[in-house]
């Protein structure tokens, strides 16, 4: 696979209602037989600009374009090279509107009417929300998605957050592939052990477990409704979780026993990359990550009748 950008064509664009958002479109050089494919739109990972952490978004775009897909990476307003909005629209609304504007832009340039959204961290949350409300979205790749499935209001929100962190610390300490390193850090005093221990304990505070369980059942119904709705529309979802990130713990806390069932019935497609951190810093993990994306695209986008 060549990712030098020599076998794909790249174009910088200004788009959006005020032409103040910056994006880069990556086209395949050979489009024969691929003109009916959905386009991929890659969203910012937090405040990192559109090249992505360690240039990962550029690598994804070139890999997918070499497979025949059009890929568009762009910056939300106020992030990267895009101008800050002049209206008072809150970010949670502007991000959704701008993702839709990005899809409009790709539609205008290529004629594509179906899209796959891809995002890491907060980008995953926006991808999920947009997929839920925009029927043009036929797939979403949610990379280290945290807090995208449930409500964040009040006690339930903070309880879920605490339990996720507690589970994360326990898993990292006892079961992760780099647990020896973490124990060494703790023993040599190179991490704030007491703070972590306190989170490990308080996250599973007995008193809160009962109230959480009661309220969590309504959350689970909500999550179930959302996933069913996406499934009925034929939206393909892929969750990618790094071992060193707490996105996997989040899914466990939110879905509990249902996680196994939903994975086996195909409602949730989860790939876990062992030994990788949140931003896939090491090159082997970037390569592994790209292979996962490539295989998923091959199966779900290039060879799937449902999406085409």
């Amino acid at each position: 696979m060549d990712m030098r950008g020599l076998y794909v064509k790249e174009e910088a664009l200004l788009f959006g209602k005020t032409r103040s958002l910056v994006g880069v479109m990556t086209y395949p050089l050979e489009t024969a037989g691929t003109d009916n494919l959905p386009a991929v739109v890659i969203l910012n990972a937090g405040i990192m600009h559109r090249v992505g952490p360690n240039r990962l978004h550029v690598k994804i775009a070139r890999t997918l374009a070499a497979m025949g897909l059009v890929v568009f990476r762009f910056d939300f307003s106020g992030v990267g090279d895009s101008k800050v909005r002049e209206d008072a629209l809150p970010f949670e609304k502007s991000a959704l509107a701008e993702t839709q504007e990005a899809m409009d832009c790709v539609n205008k340039v290529t004629g594509t009417e179906r899209f796959v959204l891809m995002g890491m961290c907060s980008g995953a949350t926006i991808s999920f929300k947009t997929a839920y409300c925009d029927p043009r979205v036929v797939g979403a790749v949610l990379i280290n998605a945290r807090m995208h499935l449930h409500g964040m209001h009040g006690e339930v929100g903070s309880s879920i957050r605490d339990r996720t962190l507690a589970r994360h610390y326990w898993r990292i300490a006892l079961f992760s592939s780099f647990r020896a390193k973490n124990w060494l850090k703790a023993i040599t005093g190179k991490v704030e052990s007491w703070e972590i221990i306190s989170k490990m304990v308080t996250g599973f505070e007995i008193g809160r477990l009962f109230s959480h369980k009661k309220k969590a059942s309504s959350e689970l119904n909500h999550v179930s409704a959302v996933l069913n709705s996406l499934s009925q529309r034929g939206v393909r979802l892929l969750h990618i979780c790094s071992e060193g990130d707490f996105s996997l713990d989040y899914l466990h806390v939110i879905l509990g026993d249902k996680l196994k069932n939903w994975r086996s019935d195909g409602r949730l497609n989860i790939e876990v990359i062992q030994g990788a951190n949140h931003t896939f810093t090491l090159l082997w993990s970037q390569e592994h990550f790209l292979n996962v994306i490539q295989e998923w695209a091959q199966k779900e986008l290039l060879h799937s009748d449902r999406v085409r």
């Binding site: 790249e10 240039r55 101008k83 800050v84 929100g157 090491l282």
Partner: protein, 300 residues
């Protein structure tokens, strides 16, 4: 359809954005949000990504600023600062071109294809592009870390560079590579990562998530700005924020070449560590403001 709730998460996210821009940074950012033109230049084979900031104050100055980014993880950490610098300079009436070197950012090429000769040629192409777009006669290069080193080498080899800002340039390549390797080792110790296989594949060495070819590392290790004997520009600002790299000897050397030198010492050791969470990167507004003031003063 049932509604989704995620407002609080995003409020936290926006607060972090505000924090990483240095407290009041968000307000400044909103005030100076300006027009830019993104484009590719330099032909289809080795196309480079550039962002052109047209001058936004009248009268516009007869000097354009070409901003040279640092490499690897430093590029990721300072992209936002460079964008801010571009906006501030354009608001002061300067045309500005920021560009990504070959194999970096949005430009063509893989990371391991980077070479010093190629990057020097990229600066030359960017200067040409700046002159073509803005019709200015004078050019000021602003370079950070390895970008600063390349700017100085480029300036010493040509006569049309009027001014230069060298922001923590790599004076000694061997020390720089050693520091990068140390940071990489530290990251391996502390981050939630597991190393697999040999980090040296034979063709390249991995440093903080970026591949460096063996030939590039050898080239970088040979870099020694103190050996340059030709004045790279008439007016030079040297900024030192990394305490480990002493820039005073460079300043003395440049003074001996009869260039007009200004020296700014702004200790900021926190800027020179590896940060996984880019939301925690702080834009150094004091340094950006000093650069803008210096360039404005030099080209009134």
């Amino acid at each position: 359809m049932a509604p989704l709730y995620w407002e609080r998460d995003f409020r936290l996210w926006v607060r972090r954005l505000h924090h990483c821009m240095g407290g009041n940074g968000l307000l400044n950012f909103i005030k100076i949000g300006g027009e830019i033109e993104p484009f590719y230049f330099c032909g289809p084979e080795k196309q480079l990504f550039g962002c052109y900031h047209a001058p936004r104050a009248e009268p516009s100055r007869d000097c354009g600023a070409v901003l040279c980014y640092p490499m690897g993880h430093e590029y990721m950490q300072f992209h936002r600062a460079y964008r801010q610098l571009g906006l501030h300079l354009s608001r002061a009436g300067f045309p500005v071109l920021r560009f990504d070197f070959f194999g970096c950012g949005d430009s063509a090429g893989n990371g391991e294809e980077g070479k010093l000769d190629q990057w020097l040629a990229d600066i030359s192409s960017a200067i040409g592009e700046m002159k073509r777009r803005s019709h200015v006669a004078k050019v000021c290069l602003v370079g950070l870390r390895l970008g600063g080193t390349l700017a100085m080498i480029q300036g010493a080899g040509r006569e049309d560079i009027e001014g230069m800002v060298l922001w923590d340039p790599v004076v000694n390549g061997t020390a720089y590579v050693k520091k990068l390797r140390t940071l990489h080792k530290k990251m391996l110790k502390f981050a939630h990562v597991k190393q697999k296989g040999d980090k040296k594949s034979g063709k390249f060495t991995e440093i903080l998530g970026f591949p460096f070819s063996q030939s590039l590392l050898v080239e970088v290790e040979k870099l020694d700005l103190l050996s340059i004997q030709t004045k790279p520009a008439d007016n030079i600002l040297v900024i030192q924020s990394d305490e480990e790299a002493d820039q005073k000897q460079l300043k003395n050397n440049l003074e001996n070449m009869h260039a007009r030198i200004d020296f700014l010492h702004y200790p900021a050791p926190h800027m020179w560590t590896w940060i996984e969470d880019f939301g925690k990167v702080v834009v150094p507004y004091e340094i950006l403001q000093s650069v803008v003031s210096w360039i404005c003063e030099a080209y009134t």
